[in-house]
Amino acid sequence: MKLRSLNSVWLLLFLVVVAVFIGCEGSDGPAGAVGDEGERGNPGSDWTIEPPLDRIFGLAVFNGRTDAHNGNATLLLTSDTTSDLDGHTVIMTRVNRAPVIDGIDDGDDVWGDYLANLELDRTGLRDNYIFSADMRAAYDEDYVYFMVRWTEVANGSASVGENDEWRTWSYDGDDWSRNSAYDDRVSFLWLIKGAFEDVVDWNTDGCRIACHANQTQGMFTLTDTTKIDSWVWGSVISNPIGFAIDAQIGVQLPGDVTGFRQDVGERIYLENVYTTEDPDTVRPAFQHKEDPNSNASYPMWSWEITGFDISDRDWAAGASVPGIVTNYPSSSAADILAKGHYDNGTWTVELRRVRVTDNSDDVEF
């Protein structure tokens, strides 16, 4: 009896084990339900004409002397039309019709009604007593446009008038020498790299850190990380050709007294000086090929010149030769279209440049 019971128990245990094995092979569950629909995608970005970034820039105007210029080193250029025209701020507006770059103000209808009246002060070694300038700025998808207008002031050596010569050569019967004539000018200084916040003290000192910081001559930046785009319009050096000088200011390189270097390309003028080590033989490098013995007249174009003839020509006392040769610019040196117009003591200068030149020596807008 006991044996039968044990057999039954073992049989049952065997059946239990078999049943457990059979029971563990359960079927896979049904597939899950289809997931929920994804969320709506983000809206695409509209194409817009982004206004240029706000910038701190420097500006200076000259009246016939290089060492006397008044300006403002920390002007703000902004597209925020709610900004105050406080004498240090220039508001850019977007235009659908470009201004004519002819030195004549096209007015609010073209530029928009944000005419800034900027406060100027002495920024050079001497004062030229020009304490204010009007300025307009505008942009479209391709270009930026500027207008600057100032009125000359007679004071000391500064006189009111359109300066139309630049370091002219004259012959006194024995020697050639140059006078000190200089043109009327306006210059802009823009930080090339990044935003102005990237450069220590730029937002408070502006271009002073580049052009006249601890420097008695020349213009250069103190650190290799700072590069400044410099635009210079001059009544003699650039106005006849209708462009402005495009240059950059960097550190002083060995052997140079300046860090001011004009952009790549044919320059808009050549200084007409043949330099030798002997100061007594310094003379013009070029003369007018058709009328060399006349009184100098500007512009003397690069296609009108021939090499200066000091040996054979019977120069007349009183003969004069322009101090510069006006040239056709090219490449990055031809980026800035500029034209000035003088009217009764007031200069109006207008400039145009593409917002992005793709030249590394230019500021981007």
């Binding site: 039954s8 457990v20 709506r40 995608g41 809206p43 004519v100 058709e290």
Partner: protein
């Protein structure tokens, strides 16, 4: 016996429990991913779309700056579905820019998915005498950067009866008779050429003009332009052009000699104050200087100092040398009236096929192809 039954019952209970546990099969596979959500709203495309319809005028001169045949009002449309006609020029979106070479290569140059044909435009006499140039063919295209055009016309030589007409440009003091040499069927690209006469040992500029093509575009919303077009532009008593009304009109002025030979149009603007050139430097310099004995050429070709200057135009400035009046000049020697330089600034905006490539001698056709940036950034230019 009861113990056995209890054991069996317990084992059965265990078996059932195990079966319950063992019957929990694997979880089924994950269901499929739900469908993609709907797209977000589109952003606005870059706004380099062409403008709406534009109205312009066209004039053609045969050896004349005054006598023009043309059409005062034409419509340039960027609607690709419109059909070109004598009044409508369709500006097609081009897949590739045409070669600006003065050769109409048809669909090879101007083809696109929408390409059909150019426009054949009937021309009338707009001013002065009828040059008998009765029609012009015109094509237009654009891409993101430029607009492109081609204008093709045949010159006609007039050998019929003389006609009297005024020409305040070339003959300001009188009316003159048309002679058969004015309207010719040759390429006129040597305006005001100097000619030496051995009889009186003098140089004089010939009263020859050049072939011309002009297009007029409204820059600033000139009142009435869309209905009257370039008929609002008139010739003043001082021989200049004026606009009847306020505003600015862009003038694209192809001059076969002064600008065309080196591959440009002149770029001008006309207002109620008159016609002026755009800002910049021109493509030509007058070869003229006033001396104590009267006007003379300023330069001559540097490779021909002895004087037999028969070089064909253009005469580039870099090929010149100052004129020598006492050289061995012969009767009927000539020197070009203008010297070529590269234009700059606003006067270099419109590039064209060089004139010598655009002229088909024999059939006497001009095929002038040209392009201009859609936005030059100059306020004295129309914008596309």
């Amino acid at each position: 016996m009861s113990r056995v039954l209890a054991t069996i019952f317990s084992l059965l209970l265990l078996l059932l429990t195990l079966n319950f546990i063992g019957c929990e099969g694997d979880q089924g596979v994950q269901g499929p991913e739900g469908p993609q959500g709907p797209d977000g709203e589109d952003g606005a495309d870059a706004s380099n779309d062409p403008p709406g319809d534009m109205y312009f005028g066209m004039a053609i001169g045969n050896n004349s700056g005054y006598n023009h045949n043309g059409k005062h009002l034409l419509r340039l449309t960027f609607n690709q579905d419109e059909t070109p006609s004598g009044d409508v020029v369709v500006c097609y979106k081009l897949d590739k820019p045409p070669v600006i070479d003065g050769q109409d290569k048809g669909e090879d140059d101007w083809g696109s998915d929408f390409f059909s044909t150019g426009s054949t435009i009937p021309l009338n006499t707009l001013r002065g005498a009828d040059s008998r140039i009765g029609q012009a063919e015109m094509r237009a295209g654009y891409d993101d950067e430029y607009v492109y055009f081609m204008v093709r016309w045949q010159e006609v030589r007039i050998e019929t009866t003389l006609t009297v007409y005024p020409d305040p440009i070339n003959y300001p003091d009188s009316t003159i008779n048309v002679d058969s040499t004015l309207f010719n069927n040759t390429a006129d690209w040597s305006p005001q050429r100097w000619k030496f006469s051995v009889s009186d040992l003098s140089w004089a500029q010939q009263a020859k003009d050049e072939d011309r093509l002009l297009l007029y575009w409204d820059i600033s919303g000139v009142s009435g332009w869309s209905s009257l077009g370039s008929s609002l532009i008139y010739h003043g008593a001082d021989s200049s052009l004026y606009l009847d009304g306020s505003g600015l009109v862009d003038v694209w002025h192809w001059k076969a000699g002064k600008t065309g030979l080196i591959g440009f149009f002149d770029d001008e603007v006309v207002s109620s104050d008159g016609l002026i050139a755009d800002q910049g430097s021109p493509a030509f310099v007058p070869n003229y200087t006033m001396t104590e004995t009267g006007p003379l050429p300023r330069w001559m070709h540097r490779l021909d100092p002895a004087g037999n200057d028969n070089f064909s135009p253009p005469l580039y400035l870099y090929d010149t040398t100052p004129f020598i009046s006492l050289a061995d000049w012969r009767d009927n020697n000539t020197i070009l009236g203008y010297v070529a330089v590269l234009p700059l600034g606003g006067r270099s905006d419109i590039e064209s096929s060089p004139s010598d490539a655009a002229w088909e001698a024999g059939s006497n056709y001009w095929t002038v192809e040209f392009r201009r940036p859609r936005n030059t950034g100059h306020g004295d230019d129309v914008r596309f």
